[in-house]
Amino acid sequence: MDAKEIIICRCEEITLAEVLAAIDDGCHTITSIKKATRAGMGACQGRTCNRLIMQILLSKGLQTSATIAVDKARFPIIPCTIAALGEDN
C-alpha cells in the first residue's frame, strides 16, 4: 500500500508518508515527529499513533527499546472543558 494512503494519526489525519518525511529531516523521536507533523496533537493525544511511530523508529534502527522515550503526558490527560477548570473535584 502507498505510504500516502496509510493513516498513522487518525485525529490529525497524518499519513505514513508524512512521518517518513519527518524522519528523513532528522526527527528521530516521537516528540520531534509530533512537532514536525502534528501526529499525536489531536483529540486522543497520541494514544494510537505513538505506538505506531515507536514501531517505525525501532524497525528503522533509529531507536532501541533502551533509548525510545514516550511523549510526555500533560494535563489534562483526557480533554476537559474550560468551564471545568479549577473545580476542586
Partner: protein, 383 residues
C-alpha cells in the same frame, strides 16, 4: 560533529535556528548545539504570532518591520511551507488602568509611522465579533502575520543542513571555553571541547547562567509562562488577541499576573496563555507542571472576555521559561568578551528572528553589521 568550526551557535530556538541557517548559508562552517531537542524551549511554546505593533520604538521597531517584510518571503527562500499568513492583532485595554499605556503605545507607533488603528465601541466588535460586548475599553489594531513555529524552525534546520550545517541535539554545554580573555569554544557536559572562532549564544532563559561562568553579566531573566491548546473548532477568532497589560504585568518579577493572550491556530485549535508568575527559571522538574492558579485564571478570563468558549475542550497544556529584559530591549551583539556574541531577551521573537540571523551572519563573516547595536549589547557587563 567536528572539533573545529568557524561558528558555534548554542540554543535551538527561533534565534539559534535563524542564526545557524544564515551562517551556513554564508558558507561559514557552523555547529548548532541544543541541550534538548530543536524547538524544545520557549520558542516551541510560542504561539507563532508575527507581532509588529508592540515593538519598542527605535532600532527594535526598525528590525521588527524589516523582519516582518522578510518573513513574507521566507517560504520562498526556504522552499517550505512555514504557515505564514496575514492576520490581525488586537492589543486590548481590558480595564481602565490599561488605557494610558495603550494610548501611549498608539501614539508612539503612529509617531513612528506605523498605521495602527484605535478601536472602541461598535468598531471593536465588528473587528472581533466573538469578544463579549462591553468587556474591554478599547484596542489597537494592526494587520500583521503568523507562522507555524515548528515548521519555521525545522525548515531553517533542513535548509541549513543543505548548506552544510551540523546540528547536535541532546548535547549540553557545561561552560564556555575561555583562553587569554577570549572565548574560543565550548566544553560539553561530557568533557569534550569544541573550538570555534565565534560563539553565538541564543539560549533564551539559560543565556545568563552560561555567560556568567565566562565572566559576563547578561541581564536576561525569565518568568513562568503557561498555555493551553483546545480542540479544533470552526473559525472563531479573527485576530490574535492580547492584553495591553502583557509587558507591564506579565514580565515583572514583582507584579507578574495573568495576562490573557489568545489566538486561533492554522488548524482551528485555540491557543490560550500565558499566565506568568515571577520565577527566575523554570526548573527541569517543574518544566511541565501546569499550575492550579493558571487553570482558575484562564477560566475566569475566558468567562470575562470570550464566554462562548467555556464549553470548548482543552487537549493539553505546557509550561516554559519565557525570557525578558527589564528594558524590553534585547541583549544583542558582539559582547565585551572577544569571540562571544549574544542574542537573547527579545520582546517579540518570531517577527525579529529573520533579521537577527542575518545580522549574526554579518557579525561573524565581516565582524560588523549595518546596525548600531551598542544600546542592546551595552546592557551586558563584564563581571
Amino acid at each position: 560533529m567536528k572539533k573545529n568550526y568557524q561558528a558555534i551557535v548554542i540554543g535551538g530556538g527561533y534565534f539559534g535556528c535563524s542564526s545557524a541557517y544564515n551562517l551556513a548559508k554564508a558558507s561559514i562552517s557552523t555547529l548548532l548545539l541544543e541541550k534538548n531537542e530543536i524547538t524544545s524551549g520557549a520558542s516551541g511554546a510560542n504561539f507563532g504570532c508575527v507581532q509588529v505593533q508592540d515593538a519598542s520604538p527605535g532600532l527594535s521597531l526598525e528590525l521588527t518591520l524589516a523582519g516582518f517584510a522578510k518573513m513574507k518571503t521566507m517560504e520562498k527562500e526556504l522552499n517550505r511551507d512555514i504557515g505564514f499568513n496575514l492576520q490581525g492583532s488586537l492589543i486590548a485595554a481590558e480595564y481602565e488602568h490599561h488605557l494610558p499605556e495603550l494610548q501611549q503605545l498608539y501614539q508612539t507607533m503612529r509617531g513612528s509611522g506605523l498605521n495602527i488603528q484605535w478601536l472602541e465601541g461598535e468598531r471593536l466588535y465588528q473587528m472581533e465579533p466573538n469578544l463579549k460586548n462591553g468587556s474591554i475599553r478599547a484596542a489597537t489594531y494592526f494587520e500583521q502575520g503568523r507562522i507555524y513555529p515548528f515548521h519555521y524552525m525545522y525548515a531553517q534546520i533542513a535548509r541549513g543542513k543543505e548548506y552544510g550545517l551540523d546540528v547536535a541535539e541532546n548535547t549540553a554545554v557545561a561552560e564556555l571555553l575561555m583562553e587569554n580573555g577570549k572565548c574560543t569554544g565550548v566544553i560539553l557536559v561530557d568533557g569534550n571541547a569544541i573550538r570555534a572562532e565565534q560563539i553565538v549564544i541564543t539560549a533564551g532563559a539559560w543565556t545568563r547562567e552560561l555567560c556568567k561562568k565566562a565572566g559576563l553579566d547578561v541581564p536576561v531573566y525569565s518568568v513562568k509562562a503557561e498555555a493551553f491548546v483546545t480542540e479544533a473548532i470552526e473559525p472563531f477568532l479573527r485576530n490574535y488577541y492580547s492584553s495591553a497589560g502583557f509587558f507591564a504585568e506579565a514580565h515583572s518579577q514583582e507584579s507578574a499576573a495573568m495576562s490573557l493572550c489568545i489566538g486561533q491556530s492554522h488548524y482551528g485549535n485555540l491557543l490560550i496563555g500565558e499566565t506568568s508568575k515571577p520565577e527566575n527559571m523554570v526548573s527541569a522538574d517543574l518544566a511541565d507542571n501546569t499550575s492550579m492558579e493558571h487553570c482558575r485564571r484562564v477560566k475566569q478570563k475566558v468567562a470575562e472576555f470570550f464566554p462562548a468558549l467555556e464549553n470548548i475542550k482543552i487537549l493539553r497544556s505546557w509550561v516554559t521559561a519565557s525570557p525578558y529584559t527589564d528594558t524590553c530591549l534585547p541583549v544583542f551583539g558582539k559582547s565585551a568578551i572577544p569571540g562571544l556574541i549574544v542574542a537573547a531577551g527579545f520582546k517579540s521573537c518570531a517577527v525579529i528572528s529573520p533579521m537577527v540571523g542575518e545580522i549574526i551572519a554579518d557579525l561573524v563573516a565581516r565582524d560588523s553589521c549595518k546596525y548600531d547595536l551598542s544600546e542592546f549589547i551595552g546592557q551586558s557587563k563584564l563581571l
